[in-house]
């Protein structure tokens, strides 16, 4: 297999994205990328990477075995609902703080 980015670089990007998008303190912004969207980003990136051309190029079919992806949009909607509820709780909690 050729044409794949050097491991260090791609590995590093995954590490950075994981931390910067999925960890780290959340303080609601005015411009709502929405916490939701940021949380969903991991999934978005997966979908992005899973584009057919890219997948063919990489010679992999992992999405077929990934329940998140193969069950499609319904899952995203459920995830979105779950995150919305969570966001509501967090906002209530932070409003309540003196």
């Amino acid at each position: 297999m050729t044409g794949i980015a050097p491991r260090n670089e791609s590995d590093g990007l995954a590490d950075v994205l994981e931390r910067v998008l999925d960890k780290g303190l959340v303080i609601a912004g005015d411009i709502q990328v929405n916490l939701l969207d940021i949380e969903l980003l991991t999934i978005k990136i997966r979908l992005l990477v899973a584009s057919v051309d890219k997948a063919k190029e990489m010679g992999i079919d992992w999405w077929e075995h990934d329940p998140t992806l193969s069950s499609g949009e319904r899952n995203l909607v459920e995830e979105n609902e779950r995150l919305r509820r969570r966001l509501g709780e967090l906002e209530t909690a932070s409003e309540a703080e003196p």
Binding site: G29, D30, L48, A55, I60
Partner: protein, 254 residues
């Protein structure tokens, strides 16, 4: 759409503006420090053409844009960690202006202070563990063809049983590695394994963990990682860091 907004990178101990003057924010913008009580908020100005709601939605779906901004965000937080204790924010905290950013941070003041107390003098290390086939162990596939359907099924069942045992043994080993390192760190978290498509590493990831370690305890932690790595196939245990304490910056954790 035009105009500008305030992008927040981290909440810190009080910090002198001059100590961040060496750092550059997203798009090379200079950083500013807003004082909120006894906290510093490190911000820069971003364009609404890029960070307004609609453009941002679009940009977030562009892996090239995302990679650049994520690295710029991380570079600021890394730089801050060298001069003060900083609670890194998740990417994308955008406010209409400095005042609004300050108001939002002020609401979480107490929790942010408590988090800073935990993070003082500490750093995050990542440790990942992969399933690596030991090269020395040849596949025990008999050279001859199965003599009968029954023989085939027997062999097949044996293979499946071995695989199940292997998977369980690997998972238990990952647990053991996590526990061992937890014992030489202040706090420990297990994250979801990374997707091979994003990490570029095809081997299954067994462990994706983060450890909060005293800076003074760094050598001890490193020795522990090395010991664990040496006892396993080459490349099975990988260490990354030091990171700003992203994995320990959440407020809703006990």
């Amino acid at each position: 759409m035009s105009g500008s907004a305030t992008y927040l990178y981290a909440v810190t101990r009080p910090v002198d503006g001059s100590s961040v003057s060496q750092l550059r924010g997203i798009g090379g913008a200079p950083l500013r420090v807003l004082e909120v009580g006894e906290l510093g908020c490190v911000v820069s100005t971003v364009s609404l053409d890029e960070f307004g709601e609609e453009p941002l939605q679009r940009n977030l779906a562009d892996l090239g844009w995302l990679a650049r901004v994520a690295r710029e965000h991380d570079a600021v937080v890394q730089g801050l960690a060298e001069v003060t204790t900083a609670v890194p924010l998740r990417l994308g905290a955008v406010y209409v202006d400095d005042g609004s950013a300050a108001v939002r941070v002020a609401r979480l003041r107490a929790a942010a202070r408590a988090t800073l107390d935990v993070l003082d003098g500490r750093e995050e290390w990542g440790v990942k563990m992969y399933a690596v086939q030991p090269e020395t162990e040849p596949q025990t596939v008999p050279a001859d063809r199965p003599s009968s359907g029954l023989e085939y099924l027997r062999r097949r069942r044996g293979e499946l049983a071995r695989k199940t045992i292997d998977a369980r043994a690997l998972a238990e080993d990952a647990d053991a590695v996590f526990e061992e390192l937890r014992s030489v760190s202040v706090l420990a978290r297990r994250h979801r394994p990374q997707d091979p498509a994003l990490s570029g590493v095809k081997r299954p990831m067994l462990l994706n963990a983060a450890f909060l370690v005293d800076r003074d305890g760094r050598p001890e932690f490193h020795r522990a990682v090395e010991r664990l790595a040496q006892a396993r196939p080459e490349g099975a245990v990988v260490r990354t860091g030091p990171w700003p304490p992203y994995s320990f910056a959440t407020l809703d954790d006990a």
